[in-house]
Every structure is written in structure tokens, then in C-alpha cells.
């Protein structure tokens, strides 16, 4: 007898099963010894160098042997044995203060292991997959190999496999497992009647091809991907990520091979000429929570997001608890803290902010436009037209040479640009200062900003908390040409000062709008939709001097590119660098959003403390160099004209005096405006997009965002598989590394997840942990066989499912003798069919499907079914408005998930709140679940609609009605006793409701769905009660 029971089963097996004996055969290191060493010793004598005691490590054989604490073959001489056996609490291991202790069995195993030579083996899940031979002799030659592996284990246990389940059970099990929905009566009857060979696999294939299969598989991945409809954290605003869920459904519907599935989600954007769908897939990496809590520290949360992405990657694809290495080396697995941060380096190269915007509603950068049918073509045409008209403008310029020559020879008067706004700050009366260009503009002093002496009369003096503001000024779109100019005096060359802008806030609005900043004294001008990833920003190379009046101007041509920006200092174009050049969405606010042109300060930003500003001008055009020089020098245009270069003169002429050129520009502006408006009609979603220059990644001491230690390159943990030299060190390379046949984890983890989905328990129970602290596989050879086969099949997901459900193991009856259930409550041995409570989604969807209320629409935005009123409101300021009609009856995978207030009935049935990647759900049983099934309007309504329809379908024949309702809800015919009980239930409820007609009527009015049947209310109510009874019956709640 070999013992293959682990965990708590091991304990019961040891005490309960006479056929078991620890010493009977040689131990397997991975199976028997490693779990004990890891759990009880490695915390102090494992991979984490920082917490290692006495310099001793037991996780590596060389180190353990060198330390002389193990005498292979000679336990009596081994210090380890002495330490685990001694009664001396000072010497005893594990020490009492660790709150860890070895059981007698565990100590025996360690001693036996040393007696057998203290042989180490590499951790099982880190060994690359090899071909596994199928055990022979136990199953027919053409049998499913799964059964051979299972029987090989089972034959040693003394238990026999269960017979095949009956057909009603099988089709219900298959339907719930492959589609998440119950079979229809027609499907059941067809299967029962199909006596031809291959009937079972015909059902399997039909279910796998059903679009609802794709939905069900997608639903399973939503937990892993931590998909939700809101950002999480406290304000928890809607995040508009459902198009990614639609991608997911499409991927499963196309049976996308798992390698592509991984690659597209991790790095679809880095593929050659990625399709829209491939880029969309990368939203997987952006499904983590994000905050917009005011005052949050940007870098603190950015680092948290990168960490979430990395840890989700590790849990989802590698089954590793990587998060343990965030603050220190992993205590159990060979993953150093350095390796953790090397892995984060793959995920931190995107141009993101630590906060999403409070004042605007948009996709935090990086993001993409997500075109509906035809929109991409439309957009291309608009962009093509811009290009075309840019050409026309250039042509007009070229054509203007003779007119320009005539202009000069005629000595025409030199035109000047006219400002839209001109604030000279000469007077401040009742907190108002006049706008000499626009009488209607209402320019106010904010918080008492006052006047001082400036270069031209008075100037505005600023404290950093005050300023001058005007709602009507500077309201431009990215497609508009505009310019601004002002005199300023800065007190110092500090990292960041806000001079002038039209934004509502910095991080709280992602700086949407335009802004003129001083960064380390360098004039910096930019336009932002969402800083930093959807923005353009240009900066001068040189700082301006402190404590000196300087004239600064910025001009912009409406091109949405950095090339369209010029910055002038003291009237001369400055050398500039482009800091950002990726602006493709509006810079305006929905409905104005309270934006205003503001000089001197910004909400929660560093204002122009100690600074002064004078002669502010705003233009709705791009100024010429001569215009700017005129502002800076005060010289008249004619004089400047005389001294200007030929190019400057030509520019000035074109900008102000050439009609053909003006027309071409107007036509270009029109095209740009149209494009910019069109872009706002296109859906917009967060995705991955690497910055041109990768961000430097660091080891963060103790995981603290601001404690940067050495820099690290992108890399993977060596103990799993070194990162190949030929691979690109980006996410695409990471995907390739993951899919390398030598990667020991990817296929095992994937196969195990699907096994878990079908059997309720993985071959490795700890889907989240394939490391040393995880459970060893119950059937290691089977796991490896499936994993290898999965890879060799081209990562065929539906093929894998088909292969598993075709096995006799899967098809077993789940009823069994109490002895087996008692010895193997978790069904580790697989000596019976997989039966357990359905998921939250399956239970609700089943009620909807059985009642015919289910709306089988696939994809689209999330919906808001019934929910007790007030739940959102009492925790926040947001109200949950349930849908009406269709939205009440969609599959549960489409239910809107607000992370901070998740759908309560789903939570009650153990659905996670989607805050973090979850690869395994618990299954609890609580009275609250009974209350949901009994009282939630969703179920009451489903029961009464089901009852009404069934009543009509059976013309009120009580037995037929009971039969039909029972079958619709449980997938099987009721037995005699069940009929009897339900008939009694029907009769007594009919009587009861006959005596209380208002109650009958009220009962039938539950839910929004209109009444279906015109039969007498007491009878319908009795039928509804019967349906409710069955909906609360165990057979409804479990997979059979």
C-alpha cells in the first residue's frame, strides 16, 4: 500500500484506515517529506535569507548536507532528528515560540526519510513535463487514459469506482459543466431516447458548440481576471471594461488555443500589427482596482497596480504565491525579492497615473479607441482628410509666393494678431480686473490675489493659493489653434509650479485641458485628455532665470501633435524637447465641468507661490514669431518686420494676410474639429501600451513604494525557467517564456483549473499555490499526462474539456456508500462522480432558464437585476437603479459588479468580490443562502412564472404539473415519494390560498414579469409554492 492521501485526509486515513501504513514503503520526497519541511521548517531554514536562523537552510540539499545536520541513512546521528525528538524546549524544533509543532507522524516521516538516505528531489511542479506512460491492464486498450490513471490509484485504496450515472444525471451534469445552464426538457428527452452508439459524445459536442458554453467558460475566467464593473477602492466609479468581457466570450466561442489566449491578454499590443481585438485583450492587465481618493499619493498606488498585475500573472498562469516575495524573499518557494521586482518590470512600462480622474469620466491611460462596425473606416477617412487638407495648406503656402512678393512691394500695412483676452492687471476692484479684449469676460481675483509693480504698470502677485480666473476664457479643444503669452517672474527654479491653465485639477482631473507649467524653471506647455498617457507636452531645454521678468508664449496649431507646439522665451523660439506626444481624445469637460482659465494656482497642486504675472494674452489662433516678438519687446510690427528674417515675414504674412492660405487653414481646422468630435463618439477603454522608453524598475525595500533599492531588468524566477537570451525583454517575451515547453507550470496550472471546474476540486487542490506549501497532486501522473497532452494538442481548451468529460471517471454516479464518503469526503480518490453545490451564477441562471425568463442575449454592457433597495446608497452616495425588463433576466455573468458593494445574493453564494485574482471559490452552506432562495424576488418570480407556464402546459393536471416543474428544476423525473410529498404540498397550499385569495394574488404578483396564466389564483399559487419547494431542494442546488 502506498499512501497517497494528503492534508486532513491523511490524518483521518492514518487513524481510520487499517490498510494504511507509513513505513510500509519508501517515501517519496515530494509527496511525503517536502510538505513537512516546507510547512514546519522553511520559515526559518528556507529560501528567505533575511529570516534564516543559524545560517541553516534545509531547502537545498547541498546546503543542508554541508551544514552536517543530516546523516543520510543514519537518523540517530542526525542533528535534525535530535532536534525534533528532544524534550528540551530550548533545543526543540520547531521552537515553541514559532507556534508550530510536528505531529508524531510527521516526525516519523522525517526520521524515515533520513534513514532512507535523505534524498532530495526537485519540487515536483518545477520539473519540466515529460511524456507519461498510461498504466496498462486496468482499462480497455481503447479506453480513456484518464480512467487508467485513476484506477491505478484507486486499486490501491480498496475502493471500486462507481458505475456510470444514469442519463438524466449525465446530461444535467454535462449541461451545467459545459454551459452553466440546465438541459432543456427536449434535450433530456432526446438523450434518453437516443439509443445509437455515441449518444453521450453527441451531447458533449453539441454543448461545446453552444454559444452558452463560451459564456460559461468566460464566466470562469472572470474571477481569475478580477473582472468588475467599477474601479474599487472607496469611490468605486464605473470602469467601462465590459468590452473586454465580450472579447473573452468571443475567444472561447472561437475555441482560441490557450497559448494565443495567454499571449493576447498579456501582450496582444506587442504582436505584429495587432488587431483591435488583440489590443483589447490586454485590458486583462488593467482590471485591477484603482483609486481616485483625493490626496492619494500617485506613486504609492501606481506601484500597487503594477504589483497587482504581476501577482495576478503569477497566480493565474503559474499558480504561484508571488506576492509573498514583495517585501522579502519568498519564505517557501525559491523566488527572491529581486526576482519579484524583475517580474514587475514587465508590467510597469505603461504610461499610467496612480489615480484615475475624479472630475472626468474616461478610461485612464493608456487606452484605446474601440471601434464599432464601420467606425474605424470612418475615422480613417476623417484622418485621411486632415492629411489631405494639411497638404492643401502647404500648397497654399507655396502658391502664395507671388502674393507675398506683391505684399512686400506694395508696402502693405503689417497686420497684427488680435487677442481674445487681454489682462493687464492694472486695477483690481471688488476682486475684478478688466479684460481689455473682451468686455464680457469676467476675470476675478481668487482668494484675494493682489497687484504689485510689474514690467508694464501693475502686475498680479501670487501666493500659490490664490490667482486670477475666468470661466469664459481659453475654452478650446485639441483641434483648435490657440496661443497664450504673458510676462512672469518666478521666485526660484523649483521642480513644479503651475503658472496658467484651463484644467479643473491635476491628478483629480488627470490634468484635462491645457496648461503652462514651470518644471525646474523650464516653461512647459501641454494639452491633456488624461495625463500622462493621453497627452502632449513640450518643454524648453533651458530654464528661465529666477527673480527676473521673462516673457513666455506658447503657440499651438490644433494638430493634436507636439510638433504643433512652439514655446517662445522673451520673444524668441526656444529649443524644446517633446515629453509626450499621444493625444487622441478631448481636452474639454463634459458640460464644462467647472473648468476655467486660471493663473497662479490649481486645485491640490503647487501654485505659483511667490510668482508674478503680467500682460496675459490669449489668442484663438497660432501666433507668428513676429507676433510673439511684438508682445515681448513692445516694438511695433513695422519695426519688427524690418528686422525679421524672410521666413518669419513669410509666416507672418500667411498667418494674417493671405486669403487663400486662410481658407485652406479654415478648411483644415474644420476637418480637425470633425475628427475630434468623432473620436468622442467612439468607445474608449483601458489597455496596455508600452512607453517608448521603458521605466526604470527597482527593488523596493520592504515593498515600500518610496524605498527604492537597486534597479532591476525584466526577468523571471530562475528556479522555474531562466529567461531565454533570445526572448525580447517585454511582455511578449514573457508570454513566450510562459509557453516554452520547458516551462513546468503553465500547462499544469491550466489543466488543473479545468479539472477543478469539472470536478470541483483540482488534482492539485491548491489551484492558487503550486509551490512548496501547496498540496501535492492527488494524481501526479494524470496531471502531467493531461498537461502534456494539452500542450501537444495545440492548447485546445474545448478539446481538453471533451477529453475529460468523455472519461468514465467523470461519468460515474455520484451516489456512493457512506463508507467511501466518510473516508473520502472531498472525492480525492475519484471513486464517484463529481457532485457539489453549484456556483452563485449557475444557481440563478438555472432558475431563469427553467422559468423561461432567461434572456439569452450574448455580451454587451452589464445589467442591474433585482437588488434590495438602498444598499449602494447607505455605503456611498450612489443609488442602484435596477433595470426593467431584459436586464433583470440576463445570465449572471452580466450582472453589474460594484466592487465595494457586490451583488449581495451572489456574495452569499460565495462569489468573490473581484478585488483580487481568485482561482478557487469556497463553497459554504449558510442560512442566508436559504433566505435568498426563499425570498429574493428573482427566485420567487422565477418560481411563479415557471408555475404559471407549467400549469398552462399541463392544463392544470396536478401530477403532470409536478412532474414538469420537477424536471425543469432538477433535470430528472420525480420518484413516487417525491411526487407524493409535492402533491401534498400542492394540495395544502391550494387550500391555504383558497382561503386567502389576496395572498394568492399577492404571491403571483411578485416580480416585474406580467402574469402568464389565467388559471385560478389559488391553484397557480399552489403550483408556485411547489416550484419554490423544489427550487430550495438540494437537487436544484447541486450538480448531480
Amino acid at each position: 500500500m502506498r499512501h497517497r492521501f494528503h492534508g486532513y485526509l491523511l490524518i483521518s486515513a492514518l487513524t481510520a484506515l487499517p490498510w494504511h501504513s507509513v513505513q510500509a514503503e519508501p517515501l517519496g520526497f515530494n509527496r511525503d517529506v517536502q510538505p513537512i519541511l516546507s510547512d514546519k521548517c522553511f520559515a526559518c531554514h528556507g529560501p528567505d535569507s533575511a529570516s534564516r536562523k543559524a545560517g541553516l537552510r534545509l531547502d537545498q540539499p547541498e546546503a543542508a548536507m554541508a551544514a552536517g545536520v543530516l546523516s543520510p541513512g543514519n537518523p540517530a546521528d542526525s542533528e535534525v532528528v535530535h532536534r525534533i525528538r528532544t524534550d528540551d524546549s530550548g533545543d526543540r524544533m520547531p521552537p515553541p515560540e514559532s507556534n508550530l509543532a510536528l505531529s508524531a507522524e510527521e516526525a516519523d516521516i522525517l526520521e524515515q526519510w533520513i534513514a532512507e538516505g535523505a534524498v532530495y528531489e526537485p519540487h515536483w511542479s518545477f520539473i519540466p513535463l515529460k511524456s507519461v506512460s498510461v498504466p496498462v491492464g486496468l482499462t480497455p486498450k481503447d479506453g480513456n487514459p484518464i480512467d487508467a490513471f485513476v484506477l491505478a490509484e484507486l486499486s490501491e485504496s480498496g475502493f471500486a469506482p462507481a458505475p456510470e450515472a444514469d442519463r438524466e444525471t449525465l446530461i444535467r451534469r454535462l449541461s451545467l459543466d459545459l454551459r452553466g445552464l440546465p438541459p432543456t426538457l427536449e434535450e433530456i428527452d432526446a438523450f434518453l431516447a437516443d439509443t445509437e452508439p455515441g449518444a453521450y459524445l453527441r451531447v458533449v459536442d453539441a454543448f461545446l458548440a453552444d454559444p452558452s458554453c463560451a459564456e460559461h467558460l468566460a464566466a470562469g475566467w472572470l474571477d481569475v481576471a478580477r473582472y468588475a464593473d467599477t474601479f474599487g477602492y472607496q469611490n468605486d466609479v464605473e470602469s467601462d471594461l465590459w468590452p473586454w468581457r465580450d472579447w473573452l466570450i468571443r475567444a472561447f466561442d472561437a475555441n482560441m488555443p490557450y497559448d494565443e489566449f495567454i499571449t493576447e491578454q498579456l501582450a496582444g499590443d506587442l504582436l505584429e500589427n495587432p488587431t483591435q481585438d488583440q489590443r483589447l485583450a490586454t485590458a486583462f492587465n488593467r482590471l485591477h482596482r484603482q483609486t481616485n481618493e483625493g490626496g492619494s499619493i500617485n506613486e504609492e498606488f501606481r506601484v500597487a497596480y503594477v504589483g497587482d498585475r504581476t501577482e495576478t500573472f503569477a497566480t493565474a498562469f503559474l499558480g504561484l504565491t508571488l506576492g509573498c516575495a514583495r517585501c522579502h524573499d519568498h519564505k517557501f518557494d525559491p523566488i527572491s525579492q529581486r526576482e519579484y521586482y524583475s517580474l514587475t518590470a514587465f508590467f510597469d512600462d505603461i504610461d499610467e497615473s496612480g489615480l484615475y480622474s475624479h472630475f472626468t469620466h474616461t478610461a485612464p491611460s493608456p487606452s484605446m479607441l474601440l471601434y464599432d462596425d464601420g467606425q474605424e473606416r470612418q475615422h480613417e477617412i476623417l484622418q485621411w482628410r486632415i492629411g489631405k487638407r494639411e497638404g492643401k495648406v502647404a500648397e497654399a503656402a507655396a502658391d502664395a509666393e507671388t502674393r507675398f512678393a506683391a505684399f512686400i512691394s506694395e508696402g502693405s500695412p503689417i497686420p497684427e494678431a488680435q487677442p481674445a483676452n487681454a489682462w493687464s492687471f492694472e486695477t483690481m476692484t471688488d476682486g475684478k480686473t478688466p479684460d481689455s479684449a473682451d468686455e464680457k469676460a469676467d476675470v476675478s481675483s481668487v482668494l484675494g490675489a493682489g497687484l504689485t509693480d510689474g514690467p508694464h504698470g501693475k502686475a498680479l502677485a501670487l501666493t500659490g493659493d490664490d490667482g486670477a480666473a475666468c470661466r469664459q476664457a481659453g475654452d478650446v479643444e485639441r483641434s483648435d489653434a490657440f496661443s497664450l503669452a504673458l510676462w512672469l517672474k518666478t521666485p526660484a527654479q523649483v521642480p513644479h509650479l503651475v503658472v496658467a491653465h484651463r484644467t479643473v485639477a491635476e491628478t483629480d482631473a488627470a490634468s484635462r485641458g491645457w496648461e503652462l507649467l514651470l518644471e525646474d524653471g523650464k516653461p512647459t506647455f501641454g494639452l491633456n485628455h488624461f495625463w500622462p498617457g493621453n497627452a502632449l507636452r513640450v518643454q524648453t531645454k533651458e530654464p528661465i532665470p529666477a527673480e527676473t521678468w521673462v516673457h513666455v508664449a506658447a503657440t499651438y496649431d490644433g494638430s493634436s501633435t507636439a510638433a504643433g507646439v512652439r514655446i517662445f522665451v522673451n520673444g524668441e523660439a526656444a529649443d524644446t524637447v517633446v515629453l509626450r506626444d499621444h493625444l487622441f481624445k478631448t481636452i474639454k469637460y463634459e458640460g464644462g465641468g467647472g473648468a476655467q482659465l486660471l493663473i497662479g494656482h490649481r486645485f491640490r497642486d503647487v501654485g505659483f507661490k511667490g510668482g508674478m504675472v503680467d500682460e496675459f494674452r490669449f489668442y484663438h489662433e497660432s501666433l507668428s514669431a513676429i507676433d510673439v516678438r511684438s508682445l515681448a519687446t513692445g516694438g511695433d510690427a513695422a519695426a519688427l518686420w524690418a528686422n525679421a528674417s524672410d521666413a518669419e515675414r513669410r509666416e507672418h504674412y500667411l498667418f494674417h494676410a493671405d486669403n487663400a492660405y486662410a481658407e485652406a487653414r479654415a478648411s483644415l481646422a474644420e476637418a480637425r474639429t470633425e475628427e475630434s468630435a468623432f473620436a468622442e463618439t467612439v468607445r474608449h477603454i483601458m489597455v496596455m501600451r508600452d512607453m517608448d522608453a521603458p521605466r526604470e524598475a527597482y527593488v523596493l525595500t520592504r515593498g515600500q513604494y518610496d524605498q527604492r533599492a537597486e534597479t532591476v531588468e525584466p526577468g523571471t524566477p530562475d528556479a522555474i525557467l531562466p529567461f531565454g537570451d533570445s526572448l525580447p525583454r517585454n511582455r511578449l517575451g514573457l508570454a513566450e517564456w510562459l509557453l516554452d515547453p520547458q516551462n513546468p507550470l503553465t500547462a499544469r496550472v491550466a489543466v488543473n483549473r479545468y479539472w477543478q471546474q469539472l470536478f470541483g476540486r483540482g488534482l492539485v487542490e491548491t489551484q492558487e499555490d503550486f509551490g512548496l506549501q501547496g498540496r501535492p497532486p492527488s494524481h501526479p501522473e494524470l496531471l502531467d499526462f493531461l498537461a502534456k497532452r494539452f500542450m501537444d494538442s495545440g492548447w485546445d481548451v474545448k478539446g481538453l474539456l471533451r477529453f475529460i468529460v468523455a472519461s468514465a471517471t467523470y461519468r460515474q454516479d455520484s451516489d456512493c456508500e457512506p463508507a467511501l464518503r466518510e473516508h473520502d469526503p472531498q472525492n480525492v480518490l475519484l471513486a464517484r462522480g463529481p457532485s457539489y453545490r453549484l456556483s452563485a451564477e449557475q444557481i440563478r441562471d438555472q432558475a431563469l432558464a427553467a422559468s423561461g425568463l432567461l434572456v439569452p442575449k450574448i455580451g454587451g454592457p452589464s445589467v442591474k437585476p433585482y437588488q434590495p433597495p438602498g444598499l449602494w446608497k447607505e455605503a456611498s452616495q450612489v443609488v442602484y437603479n435596477p433595470d426593467s425588463g431584459e436586464g433583470l433576466y440576463r445570465r449572471s455573468m452580466y450582472t453589474f459588479i460594484k466592487r465595494t458593494v457586490p451583488p449581495p445574493a451572489m456574495l452569499t453564494f460565495d462569489a468573490p468580490n473581484r478585488e483580487v485574482c481568485t482561482v478557487r471559490r469556497e463553497r459554504t452552506t449558510t442560512p442566508l443562502q436559504a433566505l435568498v432562495l426563499l425570498n429574493d424576488p428573482q427566485y420567487v418570480e422565477a418560481a411563479r412564472v415557471l408555475a404559471e407556464k407549467s400549469f398552462d402546459a399541463t392544463q392544470g393536471d396536478e401530477q403532470a404539473l409536478i412532474e414538469r416543474v420537477f424536471r425543469l428544476l432538477t433535470g430528472r423525473h420525480p420518484d413516487a415519494r417525491q411526487r407524493e410529498i409535492l402533491a401534498a404540498a400542492y394540495d395544502e397550499h391550494e387550500q391555504w390560498y383558497a382561503a386567502a385569495p389576496e395572498a394568492a394574488s399577492a404571491y403571483l404578483d411578485n416580480g416585474e414579469a406580467p402574469r402568464v396564466s389565467e388559471a385560478p389564483a389559488p391553484e397557480l399559487a399552489a403550483a408556485a409554492a411547489v416550484a419554490q419547494a423544489i427550487m430550495n431542494f438540494d437537487a436544484f442546488q447541486v450538480k448531480p
Binding site: 492534508g7 486532513y8 507556534n99 472607496q234 469611490n235 468605486d236 482596482r289 483609486t291 481618493e293 490626496g295 492619494s296 499619493i297 519564505k331 517557501f332 482668494l447 491628478t507 491640490r604 491548491t766 492558487e768 506549501q773 451516489d815 457512506p818 434590495p868 455605503a875 456611498s876 452616495q877 465595494t900 457586490p902 449581495p904 456574495l907 452569499t908 468580490n913 478557487r920 469556497e922 463553497r923 459554504t924 452552506t925 449558510t926 442560512p927 442566508l928 443562502q929 436559504a930 433566505l931 435568498v932 426563499l934 425570498n935 429574493d936 417525491q978 410529498i981 401534498a984 404540498a985 397550499h989 391555504w992 395572498a999 399577492a1002 404571491y1003 423544489i1030 430550495n1032 431542494f1033 438540494d1034
Partner: protein
């Protein structure tokens, strides 16, 4: 041939326990660890649930009522009297005091950080001479019952991380909250009510709350807090649907039980016992919850004690009264949340309003427990997630100021079971900015609270993802000065 099922006529569950033993042993709250064991839930798979053998030693308190003041009440305007700030009112916060402490993005860029003395009058109260401002006339009367901790400090500076840290011992998401740890460790004393109940003050603004604050994190979901709400359904989905009353519901459940018993005969699956029990408990809850939430049997004197709001279900005062009723019925952990203490601006008006809603009822709860002889074994805690700055956020005027978040020191009070009543513990410097003596870290606070409940914080562990987790992570030391 299938054998007849031996458990059908025997004890109620396969572990061989009678129902009474079963309930006594597992404390059958709404969660009911035993249920998931019976049904083979994943909780059962974790072999080393360390919750057995609890309590580790004789508890001082049998239950906790945590009056959480969400948003961060200003300690400087309530408990931590700093006359120096009044003297230096309007002067810039010295760098020597700030010591480079990070500020939130809300005031970090403020051009100046003017210190702001409290405009409220402080006086000493009770024999213990505890300082309190005139915002707390009722709390002042129970001063001698309180252990006022003036030197609590935390690590987070924003609401979400800070409140998460205070409730779960970690700023990271996914950890169980304090109440869930207690539920997991100690079970329930009432089989008809949840062991862990949460109540939110209704109609509040301010920082939102999140269900995960009373969530069970990686512990099985049966240990999560159950929210009690004002109105028809005190517990979600508690009421029968329209057209169903208690009699017809019983009728239906009887038939359901017959179905389950028959199924057990057929399938020989003893876990169906748990299914039967699940429905019985739900039915009992439908009676026991309205019984506890119906305040009509309280005399007028009680309402007077808690204040007029206490007649209005869902107010803080009504929730305090409800907390007492739940405590009387053996609920182990009762958590109230009162929002809107986040006074960045207009603090004097804001804090007046919050104190008006909470002061009388908080004090009444302590006094009420005392007069019923329950204070000795009930631990009452009052406090928020962090303190507030000694400088004004926004403009400081003679009558108005705001205060930003301040993690370096804040004040909470405890009363009842095992606490060192009539004392103030720890102190801040004269600027009210830094802890000057006996700092209490959140982990230390948690360790001490668990200790009062008879739990060794280093031994209440749960293995998740291969690691044994604790409420106090790898930190926390007892603070003897807080305990009697």
C-alpha cells in the same frame, strides 16, 4: 447493493454529535463552521484551522461593540487638548515638528501650513480628570469608564488604506476583518443570530464604506459580518415574499424537509442533514431577527437615555440601542459605522453635527450596559481610522478651519471588559503632531483587543496560500497599560 444509511436514524450529523452537542460545540451562528464541514466545504480542507482550543485563556470580554467613526474624527477638537496650538494659532507648522512627515496631496501643496488651535472649550471630567471638549457633554459623564488612548498611530494616510488597515491589520485587500477573525476564532453564543453584525448609520454623506470592511477576506464567507438594516428586512432577504406568511412558509419548509429526508434515504448522503439544518436556521432567523430589531418593548426611559434619534431606526442612536440588544442576545461582534467625520474644511460646523448625532448615544450605550451588569464583559471601542492635522487645511479664520488626515497620532477610547477604566494612555507632543510617549501601533491595539477576548494574537492563525496569517501579521505587542 447499497447499504441502508446508518445516520438516518442516528444522531443528526455524521460526526456522531447530537444536535445539542453540535450546536454547543460549533456555536451555530449564521455562519456555522460545522455546516461547511458537513457539506465538505473548502474550509474543511484546511486541516490546520487553529481556531480550535479557543479561547486561549480566560477572556475579560465576551463580546465587542465597535463604534467606528469613519472619516477620522479630529482628536484635537475632542480629546487631545493642546493649548499651545491656540497660543500659536495661525503660525506656520515648524519643520522641526513635521519632521518631513508626508502629507496627503490635498494639503501637501498648500502655500502655508498654519497651526490651528481648537475653538472648542476643553475641561477635565470625572475623577480621572480626562480632558474633553464641550463637543462631548455626554461622553464627559462616562469619563471614568473610559480608557482613552491618545497615542494610537497608523501607517496609511488616505481613507481606504487606513480604514482597511484598521479593520483588517493590512492595507492590502483580501484580508479578513477583525470581526471575521473573532467569528472564526470564537464562534457564536446564539444559534439564531449571526455572530458578527454590522450596522451603518443611514442617510450619511462623507467617505463611502465598502462591504469588504466587514468581509471575511480569505476566511470562508460564513465568517463575514451580516449587515442589519433599518426597515422591513433587517437582514437581506429576511422577509417572506408577498403572499407568504409564517404559517405557509412553515408548511412549505415541512415539505422541503420531507424531500430532503427522503433524498437522504435514497442517496445515503448524510450531508443533507446540513441542508435541513440550513433551512431550519433560516426559519428561526426569520423570527429571532425581528424580535431583536423590534424596539417597541423598550421603555421610554431607554429612548430618553439614547436620545430622540433612537426612535428612528437606522440612526446612530438607534443602532447603539440595537447593539445593546444584540449584545444581550449573545452576538459576539457588533460593529457600527458612522460616516462623515472627514472634516477637511468647515470643521467646527461638521464636527458639531457629528457629535450631535453620536455623543449621547455612545455614552448611553456604555451607561446602559453598565446598569445591566453587562459592561464588565462587553468591550466597547470608539474611534476612526486616523487623526487630523494640527494645521489648517484651507483657510484659517477666527471661526473656521479644516484639518487634513494625520496618521501619526489619534485618539480612540475603550470601555468595559478588562480595560483600564478611568485612564488616559499615551501622550502626544505639545503641538499634537507626534506621539510623545507610549505610542500604540494599530497592530498593538489589535493584539490587545484580542487578548481581552481571550485570544493570543500570535496563535489565532489561518493558513492561506501556504502561509499562516494573523490579524497582526508578524507584528503586534500587548499594551498592558490599556488593560485593567
Amino acid at each position: 447493493m447499497k447499504q441502508p444509511c446508518p445516520v438516518c436514524t442516528g444522531p443528526l450529523d455524521p460526526s456522531g454529535l447530537s444536535r445539542r452537542e453540535f450546536l454547543n460545540r460549533f456555536g451555530m451562528g449564521v455562519g456555522g463552521m460545522a455546516l461547511s464541514h458537513l457539506l465538505g466545504g473548502t474550509a474543511a480542507a484546511e486541516e490546520d484551522i487553529h481556531a480550535t482550543g479557543l479561547p486561549h485563556f480566560a477572556p475579560k470580554a465576551k463580546r465587542v461593540i465597535y463604534l467606528f467613526q469613519s472619516g477620522g474624527p479630529s482628536q484635537l477638537d475632542l480629546f487631545d487638548y493642546k493649548p499651545l496650538l491656540n497660543k500659536l494659532n495661525g503660525e506656520e507648522l515648524p519643520d522641526s515638528v513635521r519632521q518631513g512627515q508626508r502629507l496627503t496631496g490635498m494639503s501637501a501643496h498648500q502655500a502655508s501650513l498654519p497651526m490651528a488651535g481648537s475653538i472648542f472649550k476643553f475641561a477635565q471630567h470625572g475623577q480621572s480628570g480626562a480632558w474633553m471638549s464641550d463637543l462631548l457633554p455626554h461622553t464627559a459623564r462616562i469619563a471614568d469608564e473610559l480608557c482613552i488612548v491618545k497615542s494610537l498611530y497608523t501607517e496609511a494616510i488616505n481613507h481606504d488604506p487606513a480604514i482597511t488597515f484598521l479593520q483588517t491589520g493590512s492595507q492590502l485587500s483580501g484580508r479578513p476583518c477583525f470581526g471575521s477573525w473573532m467569528n472564526y476564532g470564537l464562534g457564536s453564543d446564539n444559534e439564531n443570530l449571526p455572530a458578527f453584525v454590522v450596522m451603518l448609520t443611514k442617510n450619511k454623506g462623507g467617505q463611502p464604506l465598502y462591504a469588504r470592511l466587514w468581509g471575511s477576506g480569505f476566511l470562508p464567507s460564513e465568517f463575514q459580518g451580516v449587515q442589519f438594516r433599518p426597515g422591513k428586512d433587517a437582514v437581506l432577504y429576511l422577509s417572506n415574499p408577498d403572499g407568504v406568511d409564517r404559517e405557509s412558509r412553515r408548511m412549505l419548509l415541512n415539505r422541503l424537509e420531507e424531500l430532503h429526508r427522503h433524498q437522504m434515504d435514497v442517496s445515503q448522503d448524510a450531508s443533507l442533514n446540513a441542508r435541513i439544518l440550513q433551512y431550519e436556521m433560516a426559519f428561526r432567523m426569520q423570527a429571532s431577527v425581528p424580535e431583536v430589531t423590534d424596539l417597541s418593548d423598550e421603555p421610554d426611559s431607554v429612548f430618553e437615555m439614547y436620545g430622540p434619534d433612537s426612535r428612528d431606526p437606522g440612526t446612530y442612536a438607534a443602532n447603539c440601542l440595537m447593539a445593546r440588544r444584540l449584545a444581550e442576545r449573545g452576538v459576539k461582534f457588533i460593529q457600527l459605522y458612522h460616516r462623515d467625520w472627514d472634516h477637511h474644511g468647515g470643521l467646527p460646523g461638521g464636527i458639531r453635527s457629528e457629535c450631535g448625532q453620536t455623543d449621547q448615544a455612545s455614552a448611553a450605550l456604555v451607561a446602559d450596559l453598565k446598569q445591566r451588569g453587562m459592561l464588565d464583559d462587553t468591550l466597547v471601542i470608539w474611534g476612526g481610522e486616523f487623526g487630523r492635522t494640527n494645521y489648517s487645511q484651507g483657510q484659517l479664520t477666527a471661526t473656521d478651519y479644516g484639518r487634513d488626515h494625520h496618521p501619526r497620532c489619534f485618539t480612540v477610547w475603550m470601555a468595559g471588559g478588562g480595560v483600564n477604566a478611568g485612564t488616559s494612555y499615551g501622550a502626544t507632543d505639545d503641538f499634537g503632531y507626534n506621539v510623545a510617549e507610549n505610542g500604540v501601533h494599530v497592530h498593538d491595539f489589535h493584539a490587545t483587543l484580542l487578548h481581552l477576548m481571550g485570544i493570543d494574537h500570535e496563535r489565532l492563525t489561518y493558513k492561506f496560500q501556504g502561509r499562516r496569517y494573523r490579524l497582526t501579521d508578524v507584528h503586534g505587542k500587548l499594551v498592558p497599560g490599556l488593560m485593567a
